[in-house]
Symmetry: C2
């Protein structure tokens, strides 16, 4: 069991935190809106705490559960306070109608975050192919992840497994753009008969 820090206090932050807490991890929320951060910690329960936004996260693994447009700025703002951490970012950089992404190959949001993060910080993408309500269920879900170095991915894999999830390693940073497009595929399936309870996986 470990301490998980989560930057963000929206629906996905709460769902990730709740699942981590339910599986015995200690959860710390860092949100710009302190009222919303408190509410998220209360929703998560299990003794989840709130830390002041911008302070050094307690956990070695830090979820960045914010919208894609603010992700790079937030990591820049935190700067050296994220040194040595593993950042798990969950963004979906969808265009206006979710028919495509606003990023380009080689410059995914994960890669943009890695470019501004401290040199010894590992940035991994995960959870962007799981709808919030699906994550909030107690289903055993497949979670694709990619990014960081091999050592970081081993740790992320172990964490995901400890949260009742099935981790599926898709590779290094170069695969994160494929995960961004997987978010579009998921939206396509949901809108064309699959519904928003559908989730991607592998077997």
């Amino acid at each position: 069991m470990t301490t998980i820090s989560i930057i963000g206090s929206g629906n996905m932050a709460t769902a990730i935190g709740a699942r981590a807490a339910a599986h015995g991890h200690t959860v710390e929320i860092l949100g710009r809106d302190s009222v919303q951060a408190r509410a998220a910690a209360d929703d998560i329960g299990h003794g989840a705490t709130v830390a002041e936004y911008g302070t050094k996260p307690t956990g070695d693994i830090v979820f960045l559960a914010v919208l894609y447009a603010s992700a790079v700025d937030i990591v820049t703002h935190y700067g050296d306070k994220l040194a040595g951490k593993i950042i798990i970012e969950i963004t979906n950089p969808f265009n206006a109608d979710a028919s495509g992404v606003v990023t380009t190959p080689g410059n995914s949001i994960t890669q943009q975050i890695a470019a501004v993060a401290p040199a010894d910080t590992q940035v991994v993408k995960a959870f962007n192919t799981i709808f919030r309500d699906v994550l909030a269920s107690d289903r055993k879900l497949d979670v694709f992840f990619a990014g960081g170095n091999a050592k970081a991915r081993v740790r992320v894999s172990a964490l995901l497994e400890s949260m009742g999830l099935r981790p599926l390693d898709a590779g290094g940073l170069e695969t994160t753009h494929a995960l961004e497009w997987a978010g579009i595929l998921l939206m396509g399936l949901a809108r064309n008969g699959g519904g928003f309870g559908i989730t991607l996986g592998a077997e």
Copy 2:
């Protein structure tokens, strides 16, 4: 039961044909190399036939089971002989190390094929997230597909289901680029512990 025409005589053509034939469909192979086409038909069995390359396919549904680099030229070559057909193309336009695709958003291979196909031809992408050996097994597999109009996708869905597969409609032509990137995601999973028996799906 229906007649399925397959342009191409490689591994994927054989695997698709064998699955269709095993589920009661009549299979016709159209291959540029007549010897290889004959061999593919023999492998498929169940009375699969060979038709001369370039002649009008018998089936209303025509699989285009060729490499991405030749797909557009082949459809151009067939021209009006594909009028009114549903083309199911299976290409993966991977770059040299399969870390990304050589296409761009809005200009997937499927979209490029649709641009040169007769106006009343519907072009659908499927099978690009299933490795050949996995398709050749008797597993019940998830098959993502996208492209064409809603009516064409209903027919493709019914065909896939009749082949012992689970069809998953991802939407129109605009989603086909996401499927191209799903091929890269599949490669990433295969190379990072998943192995080449892994296949994508949804639940």
